[in-house]
């Protein structure tokens, strides 16, 4: 076949393919839980993600409570099963159930053969709201949580990244914070956080709407809002790291160059790397965020620094000569970010980013997990609208840029060798 004919074949096939995109179907349970179904019978698989929004108040009372609570849940009996029986049931059916603590709350991701969907959703429900949190493993879990958040086994770079984490959910608690958490605090957390009216369940794969309704009602229909125990008293603990600076207005002047790095992590070998982390502003519209996430990492003004998006954070890294000064490496990293902030993007940049974003929509069909994530973002009101992307102005984009790279919002630190500044 000649190339021209082949190209025509590819292009002609596109409109038909576009119609194959999966239309989300939504429904709710009487207890307030929302469900989104992405029906796809291509393969005998079912994916699910149960997401529960966390209240900032709960975590503010006890930093580290969410991480510890999730770990304790993983070691608890659930429903009618002991923890060992629960694990064996999952393994016996090849069901993957992975918990995660993310900026958008607690979530469990599930993958199962469609023939095991009843069992899988039942076990997910058992884990989410029928777990019997025991105090027996609390001390072990407390220590393990501390080890994990301290990243005792992690690389120095990972430790620095954690210290710069701006999100309250993911920040590392101190051992003091964790030690202050007791069993009643955990029970209060479960009662306050694990509520059906805060939950969204995304289902994707080989099940139909009626089947999904039946299954979800059977598994999650008895989930109710528990009586709220008294809110635990806040812990007065010394913060482990420098407190995150309060967000400032977009017009805030850039602070003076730091005299010394605020956060410094030692590497056993000679190294010097400045890291800057900028959390996405909470009120930044998803469209500006999506386009800035495309434009910023490839900006040549950053060279030789690297910038990438990790979750909702922009993370910049600048490697410097290990014999240099930590403070100047940090300043150099910040200067690059501020140069972009002050320069802004042009109308051409905006148009190219809009085109790139629109084109990238096709890629989601390659990733079932991304379809689930997009449906969740949509259910939480954080999805990116194609119409709003196309309507975005360069002024709005640059306003978002100035807020995201506001120097008062950026946390910086340095990875340095075993000796030196």
């Amino acid at each position: 076949m000649r190339p021209l004919a082949a190209l025509a074949a590819i292009l002609l096939s596109l409109p038909g393919q576009a119609q194959t995109s999966i239309r989300p179907q939504t429904f709710s349970l009487p207890n307030g839980m929302r469900v989104v179904l992405l029906e796809d019978h291509e393969r005998p698989l079912v994916r699910a993600r149960l997401n529960v929004l966390l209240s900032r108040d709960l975590e503010a009372a006890h930093p580290g409570l969410a991480a510890l609570a999730l770990r304790v849940l993983g070691h608890s009996d659930a429903g009618a099963f002991s923890v060992d029986e629960f694990e064996q049931l999952l393994a016996g059916a090849g069901i993957e159930l992975v918990p995660a603590l993310q900026t958008d709350g607690l979530s469990w991701s599930l993958l199962a053969r469609s023939r095991d969907q009843d069992l899988a959703l039942g076990l997910l429900a058992d884990r989410a709201f029928r777990s019997v949190a025991t105090s027996l493993t609390l001390e072990t879990d407390r220590l393990a949580t501390w080890r994990e958040t301290e990243r005792l086994e992690a690389s120095p770079r990972a430790k620095l990244r954690l210290l710069l984490e701006p999100d309250w959910t993911l920040q590392a608690p101190t051992l003091e914070h964790l030690s202050a958490i007791n069993h009643p605090d955990l029970l209060a957390f479960y009662a306050g956080a694990l509520r059906p009216d805060r939950a969204v369940l995304i289902l994707q794969g080989d099940l139909g709407l009626e089947q999904a309704k039946r299954l979800v009602l059977l598994s999650f229909g008895t989930w109710t809002v528990q009586a709220q125990p008294p809110v635990p008293a806040p812990v007065q603990a010394t913060p482990q790291t420098a407190a995150a600076p309060a967000p400032a207005a977009a017009s805030a002047p850039a602070p003076a160059a730091p005299q010394a790095p605020r956060i410094l992590v030692r590497n056993p070998r000679p190294a010097l790397m400045a890291m800057a982390v900028a959390a996405q502003p909470e009120d930044l519209d998803p469209e500006s965020a999506a386009l800035l996430a495309l434009l910023l990492p490839g900006d040549p003004a950053l060279a030789p620094a690297q910038l990438r998006l990790e979750g909702l954070d922009l993370v910049g890294e600048l490697e410097s000569d290990p014999s240099g000064s930590a403070a100047s490496a940090e300043t150099s990293m910040l200067e690059r970010l501020q140069a972009i902030r002050q320069r802004g993007f042009t109308e051409t940049d905006l148009r190219r980013a809009q085109a790139a974003w629109s084109e990238s929509r096709a890629l989601i069909t390659l990733h079932p997990e991304a379809q689930v994530a997009e449906a969740l973002a949509d259910a939480r009101g954080r999805s990116v609208s194609p119409a709003r992307v196309n309507a975005l102005t360069v002024e709005a984009l640059n306003q978002g840029l100035r807020r995201w790279l506001d120097p008062a919002r950026i946390r910086t630190g340095v990875l340095a060798g075993p000796v030196g500044p």
């Binding site: 999952l90 393994a91 059916a93 069909t365």
Partner: protein, 559 residues
């Protein structure tokens, strides 16, 4: 056209306990172009994009020592991004290529000057002047780069690209909308034709900085001890001088050999059929010149290591959490016992595996236990590695004992039917997931071609796994997971290796001895690194005695 139908799902449905799965089959179509490029196409009508994997067989294991790190540099400098200036074939005065050649000369001059300075620090140095010239040149080079924030051609079209350097292959994965397929074909063929490597010096500096700051790590240490003298046992960090001496032209020459058409398989999964994809692939990839059929393009002869090299032990203090690493030399993927060992690993690993159940939950001697198969690759005999972290109050010796008890149980006690069935079910689900994710399917086919010599093995092995019996797994574990194939590494907490006085003193003496015999600094540093690694396998007393013997060879004023 020869159509090859994957009977995977049908095969999985044969299980007595598993009901029939979806009866749809997957088509993998294959073509071989005249210049040697292989093309595999898996059509997925439900998607509007394509996932392409370019896999170049070879990888780190085939790098000669002076080019150690070349695969990693190709992953970064050739495939790290798709810059428009890297696709410009312009040559001659004032072109980017000419500037990059000039940069290469300056970088080499600066490196030699720095080496001279290390030998004779008191001599007058040209380093500053060379550094200034290099800075000016870099400005000229950067002026040729695109200034757009969306300069990467694939990102600008909504795509993404990653490249991974492995022991057996360089794997490049690209995702783009289906309408960009022709553009992708042209771009990739042009990339391989031009081999511009405009970011070579930055990529080399970044890789060297990463390796230098990383320091010794458990997995490379056990690879080095278990596979001595073999490319699979090589730690790139020990070859820093060679890496820093590598020039852009060296890497270009290596790329012409390592990325030649007969080393390349293109795997396409997405909305493309073989009929629609083949014409473009033939016109672009098919036009790449075939490699010359000379001795230099033949597969290199790699040393063979006897699997039963003997029980080896290493102790090291890297700081951080103590950990136990045990590696067994296992056969390459095409070997008949490899599948049985894969099943054994399946029984041992994971949250419901024996290691997590017995060592972590029941005996509570370990905080965690992980397992890796085919470390660092599967094309040649490699390692099966267990890494376990002891719980508070339990020693590494206790953990090691418990681990060996589990291995013995696997070798000697009958494997319960439900446990066996559970492992088979997990394989079912894993296969379904691979079929469901185009990227996973592409890399699975690519890996099977690289490691087993034929992409069809990706599905045939699953069929053979189902036909295995527990007794075959036990036989294979008795043959391969035994002390004579084993290497054990105790990573102890406490002081960092750089502060271990015995190691520091041994390094000093080795360097002094090497300086009297080896002129080339790169070779000298490599020899010292290798010597230190070998010495770590000895007991503390043996290391002390060796140090005394080495000191005795030094001139008295240098002791």
């Amino acid at each position: 056209m020869r159509r090859l139908v994957l009977p995977l799902l049908a095969v999985l449905g044969l299980s007595a306990q598993a009901p029939l799965l979806d009866s749809r089959t997957e088509d993998v179509q294959e073509r071989r172009l005249a210049n040697g490029v292989r093309l595999l196409v898996v059509e997925r009508r439900a998607v509007t994009a394509f996932h392409a994997a370019l896999v170049f067989r070879g990888g780190r294991a085939e790098e000669p020592p002076p080019l150690a790190g070349a695969t990693d540099l190709l992953a970064r400098a050739l495939y790290g991004a798709t810059w428009p200036e890297d696709l410009e074939p312009a040559k001659g005065n004032g072109s980017l290529d000419a500037l990059l050649k000039e940069e290469e000369g300056l970088l080499e001059a600066l490196r030699l000057e720095q080496l001279r300075q290390r030998k004779a620090p008191e001599a007058a140095s040209q380093a500053q002047a060379l550094g200034a010239s290099l800075w000016t040149l870099h400005q000229a080079v950067r002026a040729r780069y695109s200034t757009s924030p969306l300069a990467d051609l694939y990102v600008a079209r909504g795509g993404r690209q990653t490249a991974t350097a492995g022991a057996d292959a360089l794997l490049v994965q690209v995702e783009l909308p289906a309408s960009d397929f022709e553009f992708w074909c042209r771009t990739e063929a042009q990339r391989l034709t031009v081999l511009q490597l405009s970011r070579f010096s930055e990529a080399r500096a970044a890789l060297a900085a990463e390796l230098r700051s990383r320091g010794p790590q458990g997995l490379p240490m056990i690879q080095g001890a278990a596979l001595p003298g073999h490319p699979y046992g090589r730690d790139l960090a020990d070859h820093l001088p060679a890496l820093e001496a590598m020039r852009r032209s060296d890497l270009q020459a290596w790329a012409r050999r390592a990325c030649r058409p007969d080393q390349l398989t293109v795997v396409l999964v997405g909305s493309l059929s073989m009929d629609s994809a083949l014409p473009f692939v033939e016109r672009t990839f098919g036009a790449l010149p075939a490699g010359a059929a000379s001795a230099s393009t033949e597969d290199p002869l790699l040393p063979e290591i006897p699997a039963d090299l003997g029980d080896r032990r290493i102790q090291a203090s890297l700081g951080g959490t103590p950990a136990l690493l045990v590696g067994w030399r296992i056969p390459a993927r095409p070997h008949r016992d490899h599948l049985a060992l894969r099943m054994a690993a399946r029984l041992l690993e994971g949250p419901s595996g024996r290691l997590a159940q017995r060592l972590v939950r029941q005996k509570a001697v370990a905080q965690s236990a992980e397992m890796w198969m085919d470390v660092p690759g599967g094309r040649l005999p490699g390692l099966l590695v267990v890494r376990a972290v002891p719980s508070e109050g339990h020693s590494l010796a206790e953990l090691e004992g418990a681990l060996h008890t589990e291995i013995l149980r696997l070798q000697q006690e009958p494997i319960p039917t439900d446990e066996w069935q559970r492992a088979l079910t997990q394989i079912d689900v894993e296969q379904l997931r691979i079929q469901d994710e185009p990227g996973a399917l592409a890399s699975t086919l690519a890996r099977a071609w690289v490691e087993a010599g034929d992409w069809r093995q990706a599905e045939q092995e699953v069929q053979r796994l189902r036909n295995l019996g527990p007794e075959m797994v036990q036989l294979a574990t008795r043959t391969w997971l035994n002390p004579s194939h084993r290497t054990t590494l105790w990573l102890q907490s406490g002081t960092d290796e750089s502060q271990d006085p015995l190691e520091a003193e041994t390094a000093r003496v080795l360097k002094a001895l090497a300086a009297t015999r080896i002129e080339d600094l790169a070779q000298r540093e490599h020899l010292v690194s290798e010597g230190l690694r070998q010495l770590r396998m000895l007991s503390l007393d043996e290391r002390r005695r060796t140090l005394k013997l080495l000191e005795a060879q030094l001139a008295p004023e240098k002791r």
